[in-house]
Structure formats: C-alpha cells, structure tokens
C-alpha cells in the first residue's frame, strides 16, 4: 500500500520521541480518524475525545503498534473505532440511525474537502473498501454496519432485526471473511 513505508518511518521516529513525526501522522490521519469517530459516536465532543485519546495513546505507547501484524493505518483506525465504540457504550448514547451522520454531511465550520485533498492515497483505498462493502449480501452488510458504525452489540442487533443471535454471528463472520478476501485482493 502506498505510503506504508512512510507511515512506518514516521512511526519509528515517533517512537523515538520525534514531535514532528507526531505532527505529520496527525496531518495524515486526524481527518479520517475524526470522520470515523464522528460517524460511530454521532457527537462532536465525543468524537473529538476519541481522536484525542487515540493520538495521545499513540504518543505515549507507540510500541502497541507492531508492523508485523498489519499496516499502521489499519492499526490506528482500528484503535479509533474501538475507542469510538467504547465511548458509545460508556456514555450510553446509542442513537437512532436517523440521528447519526449516515449521510456524512459536513458539520458546521468543518470542511471535509480539505482533508480529502491532503490524503489522496487514502481516497483510493477508501474507494476500494466501499466497493468491497457493496459486494456483501445485503443481510451481511446490514449486520456489519450496525455493529461497526452504530456500535451495537450482537444481542442488540438480533433484537432490532428480530433474528436469532446465532444468525447475527453467522452473518458477521461471513461478512468479515468476505471482506478479508476482497480487501486482500484489491490492487
């Protein structure tokens, strides 16, 4: 993946305490991290806290990233997602889908176009991931999106969709396996 080497080098410098490396990683990933955190939490303050905590965790414990286990980008966004879900749970603020930024309209005083412009290689990968997502059967995609973007538990998903918990588990696994394959195959 493009820029992976740069990310690794930046991470190494960050691990050595280089502030400029932190600034560069922030420039690269803050907008994506905030967009993800906002989509999961649906609230600006919570999203800001999530991104703040993720970057501070990165600074304080850079060794949590192991390049042998994946790219820096997936590590960091996975961490942001986990913290976002945790915030949702902790704050007990699961919102209805209609309250969420499902359409991802820009917030007031926020300009997502700037962020996209500064992360071209991310936009290429974004297109690939979105295409992979559309290749999932609708039922699998629905369960995956409820878990990932709504931060819902499998039990909650089963209740909302009125399907057995086992079906939620099966669909989740099928979706994850298919995405694993599709994303590995993506150029």
């Amino acid at each position: 993946m493009q820029d992976t080497t740069d990310d690794l080098e930046l991470h190494r410098r960050l691990a050595a305490g280089d502030r400029s490396a932190f600034d560069e990683l922030y420039r690269r990933y803050a907008a994506q991290a905030y967009g993800l955190a906002y989509r999961v939490t649906g609230q600006q303050m919570l999203a800001q806290d999530v991104v703040h905590d993720a970057f501070m965790a990165l600074w304080r414990a850079p060794e949590a990233f192991d390049e042998r286990r994946g790219s820096f980008r997936t590590f960091f966004l996975s961490m942001v997602h986990h913290r976002g879900v945790d915030q949702v749970r902790r704050e007990q603020r699961l919102r209805a889908r209609t309250e969420k930024a499902a359409n991802l309209d820009p917030l007031e005083d926020e300009d997502p176009a700037d962020a996209v412009a500064e992360a071209g290689y991310l936009s290429v990968r974004r297109k690939e991931v979105r295409e992979a997502l559309t290749e999932l059967p609708a039922a699998q995609r629905q369960v995956l999106e409820m878990a990932y973007f709504d931060g819902k538990t499998q039990v909650q998903i089963a209740e909302e969709l009125a399907i057995p918990l086992g079906t939620v588990k099966t669909r989740t696994l099928a979706a994850m396996r298919k995405l694993r394959t599709l994303l590995a195959e993506a150029p």
């Binding site: 967009g35 304080r60 980008r73 986990h82 997502p112």
Partner: protein
C-alpha cells in the same frame, strides 16, 4: 479441541467490539488460552483487525474541530511520560510504611526473602496476548515511565481484575541487577515482584485490582536485595 469456525465467529465479534455476556467471556478465554499458541487464530485475528481498520476509511474524513490539535500540543508539551514521583529519602520511608497498609488492604504478599524471584502477583504473559488486550475496546494503555530504551506500558483492559505490562527492546539490567515492579497509590508503594527481560521482551500479568493502583513504577536494583523501598535508579521524573 478448538472448533475454528466457532473461534472465528468469536474473533469477528471481538474485533468489532460487539460481544457481550457469555460470548465476551468466551472470547477472553479464547484470547488468553488458545490464540497465543495458534498460528491460524493469530492470523485470523490480525486479518479481522485489519478489516476493522480498513472499514474506517468508509467514513468520509472530516476536518477535526479547531481546538483538538492545540489541546494535543498542550499535553505533548507536558512531556511524553506520565509524571513519576521523585523518591527522596523521606518519601521512600513514607512509601515503604504506607505500602504495609496497602498490602493489608488488598491482601498482597510482600517478599522479604531477598526478592530473587517473581512474587505470586507477577506472572509472565504472552506479548501477543497483552498487545491484543491493549488494543481491545475500552482498554487503557499508559506509560509506566521513562526507560533507557523503548517504553514500558501499563495495560488496563476493561472488565479485568488485573493489570498488564508490556515492554519491548528492554536492555538486560547490569550484572547483579534485576528489574523490580512497584504499584504506587498516593504515597504508598507496594512491591509486586522482580522480573528480567526475555530476549528483550517483557510481558507481565499483575494480579492486582487496577482500582488500587495509581500507576506502576519500575526500578533496577541489586539482585537479592530486600524490596523494602524503591531505588530510583531507572524510573524518575525528569
């Protein structure tokens, strides 16, 4: 015998943070008891975790609120590591005395026999397991303090009655020295155990209630010396 389809189901739910109740417990057991030694499951876990990272790209990027970066800068300006108390003689005496009280409260066993081996509170863990715990939803990872190399981290996973330490690139302590781990709460300091790196890696499970610990302290001290008070040879405030 592990059914890998069932294991994959748990791992998929785990990386999404969507497990609760018995399923979450089963995933914890799987991660503790099976995954560290199973190449297949470790590969699956890493791959699924990669998928959750990639899915983050589906969300459109949004410019973070203006105050975020200045807020980070303020905290970064305060130094990289959590502040570790200075250990002046008076404080060390107070710490040692208070440690006895803390021991009484949480039922810890202080080693007075020279501290040549690990205490019951400290057991070796698998680095991959600790790393997974560090990356699990709700896990709090904080630095233990300054170190000659790398950066030891304290890991407090959610819903665990224990703490973990992970530290890579750990130099071997000088000949005749050992690393010593302490729990600090207020002015009270509690000895937890001695440890040595294994090929530069330290991964420890600490059987203490996280709510009784403000932070951890690592010192390098003469092997076999009584762990009556911490010697600030390694971890100090800057």
């Amino acid at each position: 015998m592990i059914d890998h389809d069932e294991a994959d189901e748990l791992l998929a739910g785990y990386v999404l943070g969507s497990l609760t109740g018995a399923d979450a417990d089963a995933a914890d057991r799987l991660l503790d008891e099976h995954v560290p030694d199973c190449i297949t499951c470790r590969g699956t876990l890493d791959a699924f975790r990669g998928v959750t990272g990639e899915l983050g790209l589906v969300a459109d990027p949004l410019a973070p609120p203006e105050p975020l970066f200045p807020r980070l800068e303020r905290e970064l300006a305060g130094g990289r590591r959590r502040r570790i108390p200075q250990w002046g003689p008076a404080r060390m005496v107070a710490g040692a005395a208070a440690a006895v009280l803390l021991i009484g409260v949480v039922g810890l066993s202080l080693m007075h026999d020279g501290g040549s081996g690990p205490s019951e509170l400290l057991t070796k863990a698998d680095l991959a397991t600790v790393t997974d715990l560090a990356r699990s939803p709700g896990s709090h990872v904080t630095p233990v303090g300054q170190a000659p190399a790398g950066a030891p981290s304290e890991v407090e996973p959610p819903a665990h009655d224990e703490l973990y330490v992970m530290w890579t690139g750990v130099p071997t302590p000088g000949t005749g020295f050992t690393y010593r781990l302490w729990a600090v709460r207020g002015d009270a300091v509690t000895y937890l155990g001695d440890f040595l790196p294994d090929n530069g890696v330290v991964a420890l499970r600490i059987a203490v209630d996280p709510t009784t610990v403000d932070h951890l302290l690592i010192t390098s001290e003469p092997l076999g010396s009584p762990p009556s008070q911490p010697v600030p040879s390694l971890q100090q405030a800057g």
